[in-house]
């Protein structure tokens, strides 16, 4: 059962979380029950996918083993090589699952071979594992984490299939500080509200765009150019409403479970420039790459002094970030080019921003703000057009 894909799923989860709600409204601790509820929810999600369940189990065992082993080591020593080995071990399952399809032979006239290394959530769960290893390296995690807490963080069911990507210390704080009755009651209402927003976004708006525009492009116009343009706008809107809708479900159910999972979207289509956009779109992913890839890269380069030019380091950092992000979506042309596209736009904007600060060519007033928003909107929609794969399937 794909999480959040049917009303039946919501009804089952609603029943499953009744004890959680009752405990919360009485101001009592609920994370113990939530751990049990997570196991039941996972059983529901993987009920017809024994292979996926097995992979999830093996993956979790692997991550927990690496994280605890590295943490035990780090409490005594801190060699860089061991850190890198731990990171590689943590991302290994994901990397292998991305590469495997290229080695599977596809027989003509047969359905595509199953990627037997991949399972629902593998891409998102890997972020959580790596994040723990990096924070351990940085000395931010100073004591052993009990296995059940680690597992709960990794397989927390509302966010298992597509995030948002949470961080361990933030999650732990929510686990350890149960809200008072009144605070929980607010959280409960907020969570239910979010779930209904999700219904509107994903099941109504997203569905309508998909059914009446995306599936109907040929009837909307006969001009190839207009078709592609319509597809670009419609797909961008569809992607937002579908993904933001899913996120609303994930965050809403999290809130009901007393965990304030981070948000993913903040009115992305009014972004004034590409930097603003990445502070508004898929925020949990963007901030993860910013904190754990970009900032580390910049820090490393600056410390080692291999490249002195700040602008160069910054722009190379953006290329590393966005190419990695593109490849993370999948090793397909559309995703790699999407990554490259954003890398170029970001670097270009970075250069322009600095130049403009000096030469004050583009003023800052209401008119330029509107124009900036319109330009940025089109830049990002074109990016989504690439992401959709449509331009490559002609």
């Amino acid at each position: 059962m794909i999480p959040f894909s049917s009303f039946f799923f919501f009804i089952l989860i609603g029943i499953l979380l009744l004890p959680t709600i009752i405990l919360g409204l009485r101001g009592k601790r609920m994370q113990g029950y939530n751990m049990f509820a997570t196991v039941v929810a996972l059983a529901l999600i993987f009920s017809k996918d024994a292979h996926g369940a097995l992979l999830l189990f093996l993956f979790t065992v692997w991550q927990v083993f690496i994280i605890r082993l590295y943490l035990a080591y780090r409490l005594k020593a801190n060699q860089a090589s061991v850190f890198y080995a731990a990171v590689v071990a943590s991302i290994l399952p994901l990397v292998l699952s991305k590469i495997l399809p290229f080695f599977l032979t596809h027989q003509p006239h047969q359905p595509a071979p199953m990627n037997w290394l991949s399972f629902l959530g593998i891409s998102y769960l890997t972020f959580k594992g790596v994040q723990l290893i990096i924070e351990t390296r940085d000395g931010l995690i100073k004591k052993k984490i009990p296995i059940h807490r680690l597992v709960y963080f990794i397989v927390f069911f509302p966010t298992i299939s597509s995030g948002p990507i949470d961080r361990y210390r933030r999650f732990e704080k929510d686990m350890d500080t149960p809200p008072e009755k009144e605070a929980y009651s607010d959280l409960l209402y907020a969570g239910i509200h979010k779930i209904f927003i999700g219904f509107l976004y994903k099941f109504i708006i997203g569905y309508l765009i998909h059914t009446y525009i995306l599936m109907n492009i040929h009837h909307i116009s006969s001009s190839h150019f207009v078709q592609q343009l319509t597809y670009m706008y419609a797909y961008s809107m569809y992607l937002f409403f579908d993904f933001a809708g899913y996120t609303a479900f994930a965050v809403g159910v999290s809130y009901i479970m007393g965990i304030k999972s981070p948000e993913n979207f903040n009115k992305p289509f009014i972004s004034r420039n590409i930097k603003d956009f990445w502070n508004r779109w898929h925020m949990s992913l963007s901030f993860w790459f910013r904190d754990y890839v970009f900032m580390r890269f910049v820090f490393f380069m600056t410390k080692k002094k291999w490249i002195k030019n700040r602008m160069a380091v910054s722009n190379i950092g953006y290329f590393v970030l966005f190419l990695l992000m593109g490849a993370w979506h999948g090793l397909a042309l559309q995703y790699i080019i999407y990554g490259l596209y954003h890398a170029v736009i970001m670097s270009g904007y970075n250069l322009f921003e600095k130049w403009n600060k000096k030469h004050k060519w583009w003023p800052d007033n209401k008119v330029t703000m509107v124009v900036s928003i319109i330009i940025t909107f089109h830049v990002i929609c074109f990016g989504f057009y690439i992401f959709s794969g449509k331009p490559f399937h002609h």
């Binding site: 924070e135 910013r290 904190d291 910049v298 820090f299 410390k303």
Partner: protein, 78 residues
């Protein structure tokens, strides 16, 4: 006070603006005195001049928002 002044001095150097020393409650990021790059330079200066290592992932702009708060955070980490 000595330590705080030292911290303010480092921040002023990285921001290239003495307003940091004059007004320790100024919101550094909001006022555009420092960007992500400046953050990196600041942490490196703190490491080399004060001997305090602040991991980049620890740096939360909402917490380390004014020179005063930065000095307080660093004092705790000494």
């Amino acid at each position: 006070m000595e330590f705080k002044n030292q911290v303010y001095g480092i921040i002023a150097e990285v921001c290239q603006d003495d307003v940091v020393k004059e007004n320790p409650e100024i919101a550094i990021f909001e006022e555009g005195l420092l960007d992500s790059f400046g953050t990196v330079e600041l942490l490196m200066a703190i490491e080399s001049q004060l001997g305090i290592t602040v991991p980049i992932t620890e740096f939360d702009r909402d917490v380390w928002d004014t020179p005063n708060h930065i000095a307080e955070q660093l004092a705790e980490m000494k």
